[in-house]
Subunit: 663 residues, 2 copies
């Protein structure tokens, strides 16, 4: 690691305006802030990562089958340290701490991501479904062996024909009252389960999502525990195919499953939210079938929170490598007879990396808030209907933004390391290939942002979860636009926002760019205006007699922008609040730069919108760009400290060539 190299002293900004004094970052203190209340489990994860760092090389040298087995081995070893069990009930050896389990998972993203995803499949999806959708007898039967990794399972939801639209799944589970069994069948080829992690090689058991049919009546999608493999061979009636080589994550054995009249006992239904009596009577405490379905799906929230966090942490790794390389690598002379310039002293290079660094900090703290909300809902501290809906929406939005951020950041950092970034042992190869699917799995990002928008547009109405896209269009069309705003908490802030954004030419165009009230007001205004605009367009479309589907298609980009603006505002709020709580001192100054950089680069990226809507004059817009360049120069001397504070174990950084450049 390059921490000891005195790389920062040449780079102090030559002008110190408005009393700004270069902060000296206390790295250890900053790491403690980032680790937060889950420092203990994160320390355990770092130890496990260092211990198993050899897997990064094995990913490149072993055959696919051997690598898959090796990943399984590592997963079981990690499980033995207790790391992966913390979210489970204490009676089964866990710590009842779902927040800790998310912290552990996201920290694992510094290492090999096949190990990460296999852990996600085994303990998060399979174990999580048993725990969240099942009853005590399921827990007793499966949780102990699941937590130890002795029983490997998979989560068979997605089908070839239906990924995001789970409600339309084709697999059928028919109740046979004679034998008191469910009969699981794949009715046509597009209904086979697809991309199922753990299915191709290791899983003995699957949680299968299927349309429950009783006496010819369909009761909607439910989950069943189904043995799929016995002594290493497919169970009778089960056909398994290997998905074969993937772009990345080749240590995870994704497979396809077909069921041909596979019989499981009545108890195989995970019956927390609905059950079938021996005589074939369907019973559920949730009357509305759509609501029941979305309540079950709500348990998917853990997966989304985890993947979003993993994306954010993968970004940290990419930035740590690129920043540390850029304070070692030189290219072209700054002046004759001088040594060549360090990459990080180029304005363009700072512009490429620092806004991504700032967003990574911002997303980290937004993820912390999300994980803590999730912990409260799952542990029953705060789990009324409204809490659950807000959590689902926040999880969906954070997952989308966090994973897109990862794709973008890793790409930019690879390019910023030039040809060296292309060599596999410098980490970007696996990092790029493995994270690429994050934007797709656990919910396609666009579909997730639509979910966020639906919540905003319907004001999380009581029948919110009951609505599909077209129901949503009709709902909005039937409401006054004002109602949309009143239902959300955006509206009440609008007046304050208007005062802060006079927008006339009298105003000092440069003033207040670093005022948190200005930044917040801009984010709020955008969200509110986009939301009311989207509602108006949906309404107008339906009123003019267009088909709701066509209306939705035409307003879709607007709807998605609205969701994005909302989530970006949540991210800013979380970051601002965190920094406000910090004690005065250099670290607070340093993170203050990150807040300003995140806020201003987000506004800059959408400055056309702000100008179009009269909230930014062209002079002030240009002033923002200048301010960002100033901020980048201020961040330059502390950039290495800021990535060191992520606490990435040296063993998994690998990239020796890049990080010891010039030694």
């Amino acid at each position: 690691m390059a921490t000891e190299t005195p790389t920062t002293d040449t780079a102090a900004p030559e002008e110190e305006t408005d009393g700004y004094v270069q902060p000296h970052v206390d790295i250890a203190e900053l790491t403690r802030l980032l680790d937060g209340k889950y420092a203990e489990v994160r320390t355990l994860v770092r130890k496990n990562l260092a211990q198993n760092a050899g897997i990064l090389e094995e990913a490149e040298t072993l055959s696919r089958d051997d690598f898959r087995d090796r990943v399984k081995e590592v997963v079981v070893e990690v499980a033995a340290t207790g790391q992966t069990g913390v979210g489970f009930p204490s009676e089964y050896g866990g710590s009842d701490d779902i927040g800790a389990s998310v912290a552990a998972f996201e920290t694992m993203a510094f290492g090999d991501l096949s190990v990460l995803v296999k852990i996600g499949v085994q303990f998060g999806l399979f174990g999580g479904a048993i725990q969240q959708l099942g009853s005590k007898h399921h827990h007793d039967a499966y949780l102990p062996d699941t937590i130890s990794g002795k029983l490997m399972g998979c989560f068979a939801m997605t089908e070839a024909g239906h990924g995001s639209n789970v409600q339309a799944l084709g697999t059928v589970a028919t109740y046979d009252v004679e034998t008191q069994e469910f009969v699981i069948t794949t009715p046509d080829d597009s209904a086979h389960k697809d991309y199922i992690g753990n299915a191709a090689r290791h899983a003995e058991m699957a949680v299968v999502f299927a349309q429950l049919e009783i006496g010819g009546k369909s009761e909607g999608v439910h989950a069943f525990v189904v043995p799929i493999r016995v002594d290493g061979e497919p169970a009778p009636g089960v056909r398994i195919e290997d998905c074969g080589r993937k772009m990345g994550l080749n240590g995870v054995d994704n497979g396809r499953l077909w069921f041909d009249g596979v019989r499981v006992p009545r108890e195989a239904l995970l019956n927390r939210f609905a059950d079938v009596t021996a005589t074939g009577v369907y019973e559920s405490p949730i009357e509305n079938p759509n609501k029941r379905f979305f309540t079950m799906l709500g348990t998917l929230v853990l997966g989304r929170v985890s993947v979003g966090g993993a994306g954010i942490n993968a970004s940290k790794l990419a930035l740590a490598i690129a920043v540390k390389y850029a304070v070692r690598r030189r290219q072209f002379e700054a002046s004759k007879d001088a040594p060549e310039e360090l990459l990080l002293d180029y304005g363009q290079h700072q512009r490429r990396l620092f806004p991504l660094l700032a967003k990574t900090y911002a997303m980290h703290f937004a993820q912390e808030v999300l994980a803590s909300r999730m912990h409260d809902v799952f542990s029953g501290v705060a789990d009324d209907e409204g809490d659950r809906r807000a959590l689902e929406s926040r999880a969906a939005g954070t997952k989308a933004l966090g994973t897109w951020h990862a794709t973008r950041t890793i790409q930019e950092c690879r390019e910023a390391c030039g040809g060296a970034g292309y060599i596999s042992k410098n980490r970007f190869d696996a990092l790029k290939a493995d994270t690429d699917v994050f934007t797709t799995f656990e919910g396609d990002n666009y579909v997730l942002l639509q979910l966020v928008a639906k919540g905003l547009l319907t004001g999380y109405a009581s029948d919110f979860s009951d609505l599909d896209q077209l129901g949503m269009v009709r709902f909005v069309a039937g409401t006054a636009v004002e109602t949309v705003l009143e239902r959300t908490n955006v509206h009440k802030l609008l007046e304050r926002v208007k005062d802060l954004l006079p927008g006339d030419d009298e105003w000092d165009q440069e003033a207040g760019l670093l005022d948190p009230n200005f930044q917040e007001a801009m984010f709020r205004f955008r969200e509110e205006h986009m939301l009311s605009g989207a509602a108006r367009r949906l309404k107008r479309g339906v009123d003019s007699g267009m088909e709701p589907g066509e209306v939705f298609s035409r307003v879709q980009d607007h709807v998605i922008d609205t969701a994005r603006a909302h989530v970006e505002r949540l991210v800013l709020d979380a970051f601002v609040e965190k920094v406000a709580e910090m004690p005065e001192g250099d670290n607070k100054v340093a993170l203050g730069l990150m807040v300003d950089l995140y806020a201003l680069t987000t506004i800059e990226a959408d400055r056309a919108w702000f100008m179009e809507h009269g909230r930014l004059t062209s002079q002030r817009s240009k002033a923002i760009t200048r301010e960002i360049n100033d901020l980048c120069r201020k961040v330059r001397p502390i950039a290495v400290d800021l990535v060191d504070a992520f606490g990435i174990p040296a063993e998994v950084m690998r990239a020796e060539e890049l990080l010891t450049w010039g030694d």
Copy 2:
């Protein structure tokens, strides 16, 4: 292939405004237009691609060494068909047609890209250097076996310590007057040759770039032919290391080279531009050493033109797969009881893919112009100093934009295919991984755009190529800004532009968005304004006493934006001109939609800048966005035809799962 599927009839736009009539694309005719004057060699390439399509699967199944050998085999087989020799002189079996060789190369990008890059290394870089930098005795000695692939060679320019800054290379070639030999040495570890394609396994010979020293005096970088391998073993004094696994292109054996006093005869100097007499007198027809250096580097232009073209064609493949999948795959219902909607009927999905499709068409025709200019320069039809400089600049800019476009397009198309896009056999895996380095090799894209900007800022002054970055800053600082503009041909268009862009509120905000004069005026105005602004800022910085290096660092993003704006304007010009030449008819209407979509989405992407500079009102800016959405709906029914016209052989499309979806 899905060509026969009647996918288009459901999607006709329901309203036909301003007399617009849905065109019926003549696909074969459009393919002929795209193939242009090099249809014959492209047909040969398509045949070779189909013949060797099995390599796409072998890339996934063979070990690295076996795959490298297999790629070599394919390269030699392809060479035997004459495809790769067309650019060489006819006396050595070629066709003296360098334009054809570029057309062949870029068409090869539909297939496995390790084969492509190995062809580039062997025939473009190694063979090209022998041809362009050597004399007849080099041609006689090496070209026949190079063209057949019997003699494998590599191009040893890049060093670990110096990629983009070639002038600062560390390898030394000292002339020993006693033995009339050059002694090639790697003086320190950072001067070892790195990432050299063909070096790790196959090359027997290298063109080595080294600092020529005679009697203690350095004469700058020159190229030498050096045997590096004898009977499969490293030649005496040569150390070879394997770069190992890379993110992609693992069928190319990249390696590292160290030279320890390796002796080559005086004739090993590639002496077209400079020679050393037996007695050690240095002679060159080009007096200025910097100019001599850049004249030699000018031969790299072929590599840049080829890689840019390959990026553009790789984008075609990604779009073809994503568009064809999106007219088969359905997701979510448009209305109750209706089948689920096709992906391509969603507004957001059209917005994701069609602007990229339009830019791909635009870049294709810009590349055609570039290749034709290169042909003229290399064949001596038009090769004065000015032609060469304009070509180098255009090649650099097109390479940067074409390869970034590939990275972005392939990523978007992968995500648009969801989980299926992640499965290797659906093509995106290799396509993403293999093309990723295109933005870095043959010149880092940012460095290339700086080269473009340097030409614009110095008006291609007679000592233009003599200037490094800081020389450029000083040059600009010493000139009146007006001179910068007068030297370029942008200035004369400014008055016309001003008339076309009144920018006051009286004006009809919706009018003329599809007027080519408006579009052209916007592109021109942006280029001119950015250029003069950058010149002013450079000047002001130096005048205020700042170090030129610091001035450059601060204006760097502006300089790069200027270059990008310039190249985007060249691309628009090329596309507009091409379509203007087409006979009236449906194909012209179809490509007209592509022109408008390219022009307006480029303006939209930079609309903040146009608003900041008073060239776009907020109302008109919003009108552009609406117009783009309208254009997307018009493109929808012909989208499949537009990708079919690329003429990608079915054999290399692979992706059977995606392309036969729903059958």
